[in-house]
């Protein structure tokens, strides 16, 4: 079966010309539809860079390799095109957008994606109904959805709002970048419930995390260890437990 997300020998740098620094260095990874893959790795391994390169943030330059989603090359697309194709990034640090209420923002995003795909806009009543259902599941206060995006939100609220957006937009492929950071255990469960509700045979997920903790709640099909810009080890879910016990040094030492 062809993988949904296929990354082959991907290299990328960050920074301007002479000061460009290689962060991804020949990274290869396949995520089939219906699977959840975790990426773990020490600080500075290139985890966040991978999520930004896949979603098209400026400031990163792809210097080699390829990345395809359902067979389509995504690296040449604008960020909004990738979003319309179904790529979604749950940000490690969600951004505050003063003056733009959550509902307005998400509805604008949803309709922009639909337009790009040649679909009809969602009606206001349908949107409100869907929003109400999702908010209920995530324990989000309706008042919060009228406030400007992320402004004055706590760390946990910001992460729950990321999941709210994900559930509203129903993307095909999800990248969760350190979604567990800044969450207490209750918030972590709520967020994980949301993510698990999104698991679907037609959907792929990449869960980037520092710690094994999140993977107690979101069970991965595969665990990859990212170090020095490459995947150096791949295993089943129990690899995360070994990493927790032996540390990156132990596992990296074994791989090297």
């Amino acid at each position: 079966m062809r993988p949904m997300l296929k990354i082959t020998d991907l290299s990328a740098t960050v920074g301007e010309d002479s000061e460009a620094k290689t962060i991804l260095n020949g990274l290869s990874l396949d995520v089939p539809a219906g699977e959840v893959h975790a990426i773990m790795g020490p600080n500075g391994a290139g985890k966040s860079t991978l999520s930004y390169v896949l979603t098209g943030r400026s400031g990163y330059e792809v210097t080699g390799g390829s990345a395809t989603l359902n067979g389509e090359d995504i690296l040449g697309m604008d960020p909004e095109e990738r979003a319309a194709k179904g790529m979604f990034l749950s940000f490690q640090y969600p951004v505050e957008i003063p003056g733009v209420p959550v509902m307005t923002f998400v509805r604008t995003a949803m309709n922009a994606q639909r337009k790009a795909r040649g679909e009809a806009e969602i009606s206001a009543p349908d949107f409100i109904k869907k929003s109400r259902d999702v908010a209920k599941m995530l324990n989000l206060d309706a008042e919060m959805l009228k406030r400007p995006v992320n402004v004055g939100f706590s760390g946990g609220e910001k992460k729950r709002l990321e999941i709210y957006q994900m559930m509203m937009l129903e993307p095909k492929f999800l990248i969760l970048d350190e979604t567990d950071s800044g969450l207490d255990i209750d918030a972590l469960k709520t967020v994980a419930d949301g993510v698990n509700a999104m698991r679907d045979p037609s959907r792929g997920m990449l869960v980037i995390t520092h710690y094994q903790r999140l993977l107690d709640y979101i069970k991965p099909d595969k665990v990859h260890v990212l170090a020095k810009g490459r995947i150096i080890k791949t295993g089943e879910a129990d690899l995360a437990l070994r990493l927790e016990k032996e540390g990156y040094d132990g596992v990296l030492g074994e791989a090297a």
Binding site: T55, G56, R57, S58, G59, D78, P79, E80, R82, A83, A84, M87, F88, L89, F91, P94, V95, E96, I97, P98, G99, V100, F105, V106, T108, A109, M110, A112, Q113, A116, P148, Q165, L169
Partner: protein, 408 residues
């Protein structure tokens, strides 16, 4: 006659000579003469004058000519409002005004103290009138429930001048909207406000002009004890456009909200200049100016708070100016000034100019919002804050006008 008039201004430009000739055609009036002399001292203000270094009328206005572009359509609603219309040659007012609003069309010029501080205001006072147009249009407001007064400045012509004076009596309130729609080569208006104890004024200025026009709107307000003034400006600029406001807190407890947004595209210049004097203790000023400028456009913000040593005690004043340079080649000049001599005051100011935030742009685009739409959304949200205190009859229209500009 011509020779004598020529002597009013040193080395006059063609445009200044035409202004002198216009003055010569007005009926003789000692107060008119004083106003014109105040203007003539400098002639059209220019870059070598402090306060005008970024907005040069002398250079921009070579001659008085009817511009090619017609007036813009007035976006502000006029339902429920009393409409007054100034064109280069005409003036229209409702036949009847309700109780609580008294209008006096004065053929003569009212005295204009402080004219030398505002050369374009002095020019407006000196050249207003003639034909059907009042030299001074005066209002006395005695009601707290008077309908909104809506002033429209439009119509093709070489030049249009107006002077309007408002006296808002104790406890009364005035809601005023002004639409400057272009059409004249030079538009200059001066509006004066005298707010008695506890009087209220909510003033909104909408300005859109052609790329070949010059425009100066001068507002001068004196606030009595516990009077409240709120002003909101939305300016799209012109070849040169200056929106100047001078406010004096002259008795304690008065409050001023002074907000403006300017949006300048290629070839447009919008200048927001303000001067607030805290001439009485315990007065409050809140000022917020926001700007967004495209390649080839210019924005100017000059704000000054003056707080005298004795009379300015317990002043509470805040001045914020924030500008977005939306493209390379956009220009913004800013000069925020606090001149404070009193020691027991709270005065703050902030001034920022920059591009849209990359992280915000990426966040919107990652969610599927295309770049131009994302930019418009962020800019609109940024600008909207400065329009939030406009009268609710026009607030949404101002936002929509800003939106249209941002998405085109």
């Amino acid at each position: 006659m011509t020779t004598a008039l020529r002597d009013f201004i040193k080395n006059p430009t063609a445009a200044e000579l035409e202004l002198v000739a216009r003055y010569g055609m007005q009926p003789e009036d000692a107060r008119r003469e004083r106003a014109f002399l105040a203007f003539a001292e400098t002639g059209l203000p220019h870059r070598r004058m402090e306060g005008w270094k970024w907005t040069d009328f002398k250079a921009a206005l070579k001659a008085l000519e009817t511009p090619a572009a017609a007036s813009a359509k007035d976006p502000l609603p006029d339902d429920g409002a009393l409409v007054f219309r100034f064109t280069p040659k005409g003036f229209e007012a409702p036949a009847k005004l309700p109780d609580g609003i008294r209008m006096v069309v004065q053929p003569g010029v009212q005295a204009f103290p402080g004219a030398e501080d505002v050369p374009m205001g002095a020019l407006a006072a000196a050249l207003a009138g003639g034909g059907k147009r009042p030299a001074t249009l005066a209002f006395e407001i005695t009601s707290s429930e008077a309908p909104r007064l809506h002033f429209v400045f439009e119509g093709a012509g070489e030049a249009s001048f107006a002077r309007i004076v408002f006296l808002v009596r104790s406890g009364a309130s005035l809601t005023l909207t002004e639409s400057y729609l272009g059409g004249a080569g030079l538009t200059a208006s001066v509006l004066e406000f005298d707010l008695e104890r506890g009087a209220k004024l909510n003033r909104t200025i909408f300005q859109r002009g052609g790329a070949g026009e010059a425009l100066a709107v001068t507002g001068i307000a004196h606030l009595g004890a516990e009077a409240e003034m709120t002003q909101t400006t939305l300016a799209f600029g012109a070849k040169v456009a200056r929106m100047e406001t001078r406010v004096v807190h002259q008795a304690s407890g008065s409050k001023l909200n002074l907000n403006a947004a300017y949006l300048s595209g290629k070839g447009f210049h919008a200048d927001i200049t303000t001067n607030v004097r805290h001439g009485a203790p315990s007065c409050v000023t809140r000022q917020l100016t926001k700007g967004a400028v495209l390649d080839g456009g210019t924005g100017v913000f000059q704000g000054k708070f003056f707080v005298p040593r004795k009379t300015g005690q317990h002043t509470d004043a805040d001045m914020q100016h924030q500008a977005l340079l939306l493209e390379d080649g956009a220009q913004v000049f800013a000069k925020p000034e606090l001149e404070i001599y009193a020691d027991d005051v709270e005065c703050a100011h902030g001034n920022t100019c920059g591009a849209l935030d990359d992280a915000q742009m990426f966040y919107l685009r990652q969610r599927g919002i295309p770049e131009t739409q994302a930019r418009a959304m962020l800019t609109e949200a940024f600008i909207a804050e400065a329009l939030g205190m406009a009268d609710e009859a026009v607030r949404d229209v101002l936002l929509a006008e800003a939106q249209n500009w941002l998405s085109s």
